[in-house]
C-alpha cells in the first residue's frame, strides 16, 4: 500500500484519484474480488443512495439564483390583493407554487443578452440607463416575444374581468407594478402571471390560476432583470424555475417532443434574446450586444427539489 502511494505520488496523481486508487487496493486486499469497473459502479451506486443528485451537472453559478426563485414567497400585499379579486365562473385567482405542481421535470433556465454599450432610447434619443432599458423592456414584452415558434405569445394587462381592467392597465404601466396581473396569450394554453417582486434592476412573475385563462401551464417564478458583469457590461436576462402544473400535460409534451418538453418555452425566451440583441445592435439605436449561450437544466424534481427549496446543501451538486 505504501509502495502504491509512493508510485501515485511520484506520478503526480490527483489526490482524489490517488485516494480512490488506494481504496480500490484496500478492497482487493480485503478479498472483495471486484474488477475496477465493478468497484467504480459500486461506489457510484453507494454515492447515489446518499445523494441522488450526485451525477447531475448543473451550472453552479446559477444554482443559488434558481434557489432564490424557487424559495420566493409572494408578499402579503400581493396575497391580499389576490384574495380580494372577484372569482370567475370556473376559476378563482390563486398563485401556483413550484412545490404544488405535478410535473416530473423541473426546468431551470437562464437566457441573457450581454450589452456592452447600452442603446439609445428611440423616444428621446438619449442613451438608456440600465434601469431605463429594463423599464423599456418591461413595457414592450409583446414585441420582444415576436418570432417565437410556433407562434408568438402576447403579454397584456389582465382585462378578462372588465371591472378590474383599467386598474390593471394603470398598475402595469406605472413605475411600481407590484401586484400587476398580466395575461399571456400562450399558443395552446393561455396563462396569467402576477408581479410579486419589483425593483429597478429586476422583477418577478409568478404563475397563477385565473378566471378565463384557467391554470397557467407551468407553476413557478420567472425573473426578468439585468446584472452588472465584472467587465462593466450588463447581462439583461430572463431566468426561471418552473414545472408543468399537470403531470399528464408534462408527459404528453415529453412524448411529443421526444426529448425536451420545454422546447416551446425555449423558443419563446430565445426570441427575447434575439429581439433584444437586434434592438440594441440596430444602427439607429447605437448599442452593442451579444447573445449569451442559454443555460438550461431539466432534471427530475425529486433529484433537486430539496436543494432548490434549501432543505439540502448545493454541495450535493458538487457546487461550493
Amino acid at each position: 500500500m505504501i509502495q502504491l502511494d509512493a508510485y501515485l505520488d511520484a506520478n503526480t496523481c490527483d489526490p482524489v484519484a490517488q485516494a480512490f486508487g488506494v481504496l480500490y487496493a484496500e478492497s482487493i486486499c480485503a478479498g472483495d474480488n471486484l474488477t475496477l469497473e465493478e468497484f467504480i459502479e459500486l461506489k457510484i451506486k453507494e454515492e447515489l443512495l446518499i445523494n441522488p443528485a450526485f451525477l447531475l451537472n448543473i451550472g453552479c453559478d446559477q444554482i443559488v439564483k434558481w434557489q432564490t426563485l424557487a424559495q420566493h414567497v409572494d408578499p402579503t400585499s400581493v396575497q391580499d390583493k389576490i384574495n380580494n379579486l372577484p372569482s370567475g365562473v370556473f376559476n378563482s385567482f390563486e398563485i401556483q407554487s413550484l412545490s404544488g405542481a405535478n410535473g416530473y421535470i423541473v426546468n431551470m433556465d437562464y437566457f441573457a443578452v450581454n450589452i456592452t454599450t447600452l442603446p439609445n432610447n428611440p423616444n428621446t434619443g438619449s442613451v438608456f440607463t440600465a434601469d431605463g432599458f429594463l423599464d423599456y423592456f418591461r413595457r414592450n414584452l409583446t414585441p420582444l416575444a415576436v418570432g417565437a415558434f410556433p407562434a408568438s405569445s402576447t403579454f397584456m394587462p389582465y382585462c378578462e374581468i372588465p371591472s378590474i381592467c383599467s386598474q390593471e392597465i394603470a398598475l402595469w404601466n406605472s413605475n411600481d407594478p407590484l401586484g400587476a396581473l398580466v395575461y399571456i396569450d400562450i399558443p395552446g394554453d393561455d396563462g396569467v402571471v402576477v408581479c410579486t417582486e419589483f425593483n429597478n434592476d429586476y422583477w418577478y412573475f409568478q404563475t397563477m390560476q385565473a378566471p378565463v385563462a384557467g391554470n397557467h401551464p407551468v407553476s413557478g417564478t420567472r425573473q426578468f432583470g439585468y446584472e452588472l458583469m465584472p467587465d462593466g457590461s450588463h447581462n439583461f436576462f430572463v431566468r426561471g424555475v418552473d414545472r408543468f402544473d399537470s403531470f399528464a400535460v408534462g408527459q404528453i409534451a415529453s412524448a411529443l417532443t421526444l426529448t425536451n418538453s420545454f422546447s416551446g418555452a425555449d423558443s419563446l425566451w430565445s426570441a427575447f434574446q434575439t429581439n433584444i440583441n437586434a434592438f440594441v445592435n440596430n444602427p439607429l439605436n447605437g448599442g452593442t450586444s451579444t447573445i449569451v449561450t442559454p443555460v438550461k437544466n431539466r432534471v427530475p424534481w425529486h433529484f433537486v427539489g430539496d436543494i432548490l427549496q434549501g432543505n439540502r446543501p448545493i454541495s450535493d451538486l458538487g457546487c461550493n
Partner: protein, 160 residues
C-alpha cells in the same frame, strides 16, 4: 322530380369540410381569433364563427350519415383504422416543434395523440373480428402494416 345525386353532394361536403378545417386550423390558438388586429382579423373571426364552423359541422354530420349507411360495422372500423394509421404515420415524420405549442400540444399534436390512442383498441377489435370470422388474409395484412408503422415510429423517434 329531380333525384338527389348523393355522390356529388359527398364530394362537395368532403371538400367543404377539408377547407373549413384548414381555415379553422389557420386561426390563432385562442378559438376563432385571427392573428390580425384590424377589420380584416375581425371579419375573419366572424366568417369563421358564422360560416366555416357551421359548414364543417353540417358536412361532418352528412358524411358520417353516408358513411354509416354505406358500410357494415366491420368495414367502418377497418376504414377508420387505416385512415388513422396513415394520418398518425404521416405526423410521425413531422418535426416535434410543429406538434407542440409552447407547453401544450398544438392542433397537429392533438390529432397525433387522438389517432395514436384510438388505433390500438381498434387494431385489437379488428384482430378479434377477423379471428372470429376466419378472415385471416385481412388479419395478416393489417398486422404487417401495423408492425411496419410501429417500426417506422421507433426508427423516426430514434433519428429525431
Amino acid at each position: 322530380m329531380r333525384t338527389i345525386d348523393v355522390k356529388k353532394i359527398n364530394i362537395v361536403a368532403s371538400i367543404s369540410l377539408v377547407v373549413s378545417l384548414i381555415v379553422m386550423a389557420m386561426a390563432h390558438s385562442k378559438p376563432f381569433t385571427w392573428r390580425f388586429d384590424s377589420w380584416i382579423g375581425r371579419s375573419l373571426d366572424l366568417l369563421t364563427v358564422l360560416f366555416f364552423i357551421p359548414v364543417s359541422i353540417v358536412t361532418a354530420i352528412w358524411l358520417l350519415i353516408q358513411f354509416n349507411k354505406k358500410y357494415t360495422t366491420y368495414k367502418k372500423i377497418n376504414i377508420i383504422f387505416y385512415i388513422f394509421l396513415l394520418v398518425n404515420s404521416i405526423i410521425t415524420f413531422v418535426p416535434a416543434k410543429y406538434k407542440i405549442g409552447v407547453y401544450s400540444p398544438s392542433i397537429l399534436g392533438c390529432i397525433y395523440l387522438v389517432t395514436f390512442f384510438l388505433i390500438i383498441p381498434m387494431f385489437f377489435r379488428l384482430f378479434y373480428l377477423d379471428y372470429k370470422n376466419d378472415t385471416k388474409g385481412n388479419l395478416i395484412t393489417r398486422s404487417v402494416i401495423f408492425i411496419l408503422a410501429i417500426i417506422t415510429y421507433v426508427v423516426v423517434s430514434w433519428i429525431l
